[in-house]
Structures are given as C-alpha cells and as structure tokens.
C-alpha cells in the first residue's frame, strides 16, 4: 500500500513537472477576468435601461418572451423553452427574488453552469489526454513496465493521480472564479435563495416541489455534479490515451467528442436514441437549474446512469488493454 502511494506520488510529480496544471490555472486566470468584464458591462447596460429596479427587467423579459410565442417564425421547441422560462421568471417575481442578483457568488454559479459541459472538460483533457500516451511517445513506458510492479498497479496509480487532479481543477475553477469576479461584483451573495425543483411536463412547469436553496448550498450540489461530469470525461480521455499512441491524436479525439456533444445538444431533440451518447449528457447542472433537457426522456437520474456506464466501460477497456498489450515500440 505504501508502495502504491509512492507510485501515485510519482504520477503527481510528473503531472506537475510537465507544467500541465499551471496551464490550467493560466487559462482560468486569463478567461475569468474577460467574462467578468463582459458580465459587468452587461449589468451596467441593464441598469441604464431599467434603472435599479430588477422587477422591471424581469417583467420586460417575460413580456418579450410572451410576444415571441405568438410569432410563426419561432420553431415549436423554442416556444416550449420560452414557456418554461416565463413560468420560472414569474415564480421568481411572485416570490420577490432577483434571479440575476449580481455578486461574485452568482457570477461563479453562472460561470460554472456554462463551463460544466465544455470548458471544464477541456481543462481536464490537458492532463488526462497524455497521461499514458506520453509515456509511449517518450519511450519511458519501457522503463516503467520493466520494473517489478504489476501493470494494473501502474495504471491504477495513474488513474488515482488523475482523479486527484480532476478534483483539484474543479476546486481551482471555483476559487479562481470567485476571487477574480469578486473584484468586479463584490464577494457577497452566499445566502441568496435559488429556486430548484422545477418539474417539467411538456411546456408546463410543476411548481409543487420547488424550494428555495441558499446559493452556497446550490453551489455545493452544482460542484458535485460538475465533479461527476469531470470524472467521466477524465475516464474516457484516459481510455483514449491508453488506446492511442500519439498525444495529439488523443486530444483531438476527445475534443471532437466533446464539441460534437455541444452541437448535438442543440439539434438532436428529434433523434431520441442520441440520449445514450455520453456527450449529450454532460449538462448535469441544467437539471439543477430547471432548464429543459435536450432530448425527451432525459432526467438527472438517466444522465447519471448513462455517464456512469460510459465511465465504467472506459475503465474496464483501459485496464484490459494496458495489462494485455505487448509494448512493441
């Protein structure tokens, strides 16, 4: 057991010395201020048109969406989304809660919501995609596997280090986001109530299970879901990195899968078996916010199960291939 943790330490040292994690932090440190600034400009603009009363803004949003419902040019599925949106906004209005209350915590929540399906998985790829393939490209796999350690232990130590870094990346994303956006919006907003539990029936929203959650609690639930998505993406990237020799190919394969996911999410509502693909199930936080699922029949439980299945199969394939394959080059 001591030996195993020493090997995990090896993997952590290699990831850090390859400077992969610094790249992740650097990307965050560059992107977050840009988004924060954009968000700040947006709220300034709102204030100009609606003054300081947020109710006017929400009411205007409801009216705008209602108007578009009567238009023939708006596709049917968009109308469903808008009806849901109207009902949710109305609920916030009825309970006198501002859904867009500016603040560092709210910004963090929204930023993570938007980056859960693509941005955070991409950062995970920078570490996961070359974990095994780089050993093969560099030839160091020969040294690694000629030592008196079973191959599955070598792979497990890599996987353990990877999961540690997935957690670290998500924690860093939250921390960097909160610290930087706080400069723009202030550091408050932990206890603002957020409504969750909207149950969608077609275009109707069932409000019976809706409850107010303090924002900090909402962030915790969100972090759990984002972590789960991150782990599954990491496991898939890990498998690809076992299967493919070149790190570049390994990154491209995973990027293609992730990006196709975000495209499919926008157009696959008519193709219902697409819901078994992992990449359309990455938006777990959407369920929490009460946004409609991209394909009928998708629920939080369904998406969790699909992702878990994909993750389990990847781990299985990774271990089988890694322990059986001849190291020829």
């Amino acid at each position: 057991m001591k030996r195993f943790w020493a090997m995990v330490q090896n993997e952590v040292v290699k990831i850090i010395k390859k400077k992969r994690f610094y790249i992740v932090l650097l990307i965050l440190a560059v992107m977050v201020p840009i988004f924060s600034y954009a968000q700040m400009r947006q709220s300034l603009e709102r204030q100009e048109s609606y003054g300081t009363d947020w109710r006017l803004e929400v009411q205007q949003a409801i009216i705008d969406n209602q108007n578009s419902l009567s238009s023939d040019r708006v596709p049917q599925e968009w109308k469903v989304y808008r009806q849901i949106y109207i009902q949710q906004m109305q609920y916030y209005l009825d309970h006198d809660v501002n859904p867009n209350e500016p603040g560092g915590v709210t910004f963090t929540r929204e930023f993570i919501d938007n980056s859960a399906a693509l941005f955070i998985p991409l950062m995970i790829l920078t570490i996961a995609s070359d974990l095994v393939s780089s050993e093969r490209t560099g030839g160091t796999i020969k040294m690694l596997l000629a030592r008196p350690v079973r191959r599955w232990k070598v792979l497990l130590s890599k996987l353990t280090a990877l999961l540690m870094f997935v957690s670290l990346i998500i924690v860093s994303a939250y921390a960097v986001c909160y610290l930087i956006s706080g400069v723009f919006f202030g550091y408050s907003g932990w206890s603002i109530p957020i409504f969750t539990g909207f149950v969608l029936n077609g275009s109707d929203v069932d409000l019976t299970y809706v409850q107010a959650t303090p924002q900090w609690q909402y962030l915790l639930m969100q972090a759990g879901l984002v972590w789960f998505v991150g782990v599954v993406v990491a496991l898939l990237a890990f498998m690809v990195s076992v299967l493919v020799r070149s790190t570049a190919a390994s990154i491209v394969v995973m990027m293609a899968a992730l990006i196709s996911g975000s495209i499919l999410t926008n157009m696959a509502s008519a193709w219902s078996s697409a819901k078994y693909l992992f990449m359309v199930n990455l938006g777990l936080t959407e369920y929490l916010a009460g946004n409609p699922a991209p394909i009928d029949g998708m629920t939080l439980g369904f998406s969790l199960a699909v992702l878990a299945a994909w993750g389990a199969v990847s781990v299985f394939i990774s271990f089988i291939v890694f322990t059986k394959r001849d190291v020829l080059t």
């Binding site: 030996r3 020493a6 090997m7 330490q9 090896n10 040292v13 290699k14 010395k17 390859k18 400077k19 560099g138 030839g139 160091t140 020969k142 040294m143 596997l145 000629a146 030592r147 008196p148 350690v149 079973r150 059986k324 001849d326 190291v327 020829l328």
Partner: protein
C-alpha cells in the same frame, strides 16, 4: 522450490513470438551465468530487441519461458523483475525531470532503495556533477549513463543492455566496456546485444548469434569467432602478379569487391587500388609473404582484419543467406 541448480541467473527456454500470422522469433534458447558477459549478436532486424523485450516482460512470448533467478517472468513478474536492470533500445528517461528526480521516480517503484543508494549509483556512473540538471540538457552519453544508473538502482543480478555503445564516441565506448567488465567482475551477469562483431569479441565471454529471428549458434566467443576465417588485406604491387600467386593456394579465397564492401568501416579505410582482400588462414600469412617477396612483389602492407558479422553469417549459413 524454485532453487536453480547452478549459477545460471537467466534461462531462456524455447522462446517463440508470433505476431499475427508471422513468427518473428523462432525457438531461442540460452543461459547466462553469474559474473558472465553474454553477447547477443545479430544484424539490425534480426529480432534482438523483440527478444530483449520478452526478457523483461514487455512482450508476452507466444510460447517458451524466461526465468530470472528461478522466477518465471510471465508468471511471477514481481519476483523475477526484481533481479533485472535493463535498458531497452535507447535510455529514454523523463526529459522534464532532473537526473535525480528520474532516479527517485524508479526508486519509489520498489522496496529497499534509499537516497544513499541513489547517490551510490550516481557516483558509479560519474554523473555526480550534473545529476540535478534536467535530463533534457544531457548528452546521449550522459543519458546512457543515467540509464545504467537506473538499471543498477535495485542491485540487480542480471543487467540487460541493448546496444550500450550505440551513439557513443570512441572514448565513451572504451569507458563503457571497462565499466561493463567491472560490473561483471563484481558478480553481475551482463547481457549485451550488438550488431557489431568486434564489439562482442572485445567484451563478451559467450555469445548467441541470431539472424532472421532464429538462433544460429550459442557458445564461447573464442570458439565461434575462431570458426570464422579472418580477412587479410594485401597492399601489393604489381597487383596482377600477386593475384596469380594467391590463386595457387586452395585455402585462400580472394574476396571480390562486393564482398569487400561488407568490411567494417575501419578496414575499408585501409583499401586502395592496389589492395587485394582475401580470406586467409592465420598460419598461412608468413609463408605467402615469403613467397611474394621472393617473386619480387613489392609488399607495402599486410593487414589482418576481423571478419564482419555479414561474412560470419555467410559462413555459418553456408550460402543459405540471411532471411
């Protein structure tokens, strides 16, 4: 239970490897003793590296077994590989780590290696001064030495080196040979692969010769290399007269220019337009020289050169050719 009956620390029995439908290694057998330098000789592509990969468990043999200190590499890798240090092909280490960090990395993978041991092997391969620099900045020779340090880290009984002098300068090659001999005299069994006959002759006690994935011979170096007739280069004038004279001896073979092309580089440098390349038994040289001088042939030089691997193969397979 697994007690070997003698001092053999590496036993290879009937090793075969098939990839797809193609058999690339056919029934390789040999044993290596403690304190012995064992050569593994064959041209590039003969299957040396594939065999070495099977020795250290990187490739699973289709059939046959590799035993290290009595433990089967396939069945008990954790025990068997404890006793082996190896460099397979190039000594590839992590370029973004320092030499020291690389050694720490491999030290963490098994029990009983402390920092003291890492310092010892660093001293042994003379890397002391630069051990804390990134491997990226190392020369090939330094990487080779770091590779050996890594291989020696766990105090192995068998050291496997794949073309250890590849890419080294002549001084480096000499140092490497001296170093390997030193290790062997301390009781380590050293397995060295090479495609250079001279390399094996200078270094090894016993040798296995392979070609086309088959074992052509196993035996002591003197025995096997002695079997190959030496080459003699005659630098004489007039050339025509000397050729007629040499032609009279049945046991002297005149090598044509195609055959001469197979000479090692050092020997090729000796050739000029007057040169005649022959295969001549050692004991004939004095006699032939005497006859030449009497016949009024001006002899400017006589060089004995080691037969090349290609010629040795030709002799061994008696014209069957190498696959």
């Amino acid at each position: 239970m697994n007690q070997p009956d003698d001092s053999f620390v590496l036993r290879v029995r009937d090793l075969n490897k098939r990839i797809g439908r193609k058999t690339i290694i056919h029934s390789i057998n040999f044993d290596v003793r403690e304190g012995e330098i064992f050569g593994f000789l064959g041209p590039n592509g003969a299957g040396k590296t594939t065999t070495i990969r099977m020795l250290v468990g990187l490739i699973k043999p289709t059939s046959g077994s590799v035993e290290i200190c009595g433990f089967d590499v396939q069945k008990q890798p954790e025990e068997a590989l404890k006793y082996v240090g190896s460099i397979v092909e190039n000594p590839e280490m992590y370029p973004y780590l320092t030499g020291w960090e690389n050694l720490m990395h491999f030290a963490r993978m098994q029990d009983g290696i402390d920092e003291q041991r890492i310092r010892e092997v660093t001293e042994l391969v003379h890397l002391g001064g630069r051990i804390h620099e990134k491997v990226r900045t190392y020369s090939l020779g330094m990487r080779q030495r770091l590779g050996i340090a890594q291989a020696l880290l766990a105090r192995p009984k068998v050291l496997i080196l794949d073309e250890p002098t590849n890419g080294l300068d002549p001084k480096g090659i000499k140092e490497m040979r001296a170093f390997i001999r030193e290790l062997a005299s301390a009781g380590l069994a050293v397995f060295v692969s090479s495609h250079l006959l001279s390399e094996i002759q200078l270094l090894c006690d016993r040798v296995a010769i392979i070609g086309g994935g088959r074992e052509l011979a196993v035996g002591s170096v003197d025995e096997l290399m002695g079997a190959g007739r030496g080459m003699v280069i005659w630098d004489v004038e007039p050339k025509a007269k000397a050729l007629t004279l040499l032609g009279r001896y049945e046991d002297i073979v005149i090598v044509d220019s195609a055959g001469a092309e197979a000479l090692e580089d050092a020997a090729t440098a000796l050739l000029n337009e007057r040169s005649i390349v022959t295969e001549t038994p050692e004991e004939r040289v004095a006699e032939v020289l005497d006859v030449m001088v009497r016949a009024g042939i001006a002899v400017r030089g006589v060089h004995r050169v080691a037969p090349t691997l290609e010629r040795l193969f030709l002799q061994m397979t008696e014209g069957e050719g190498i696959e």
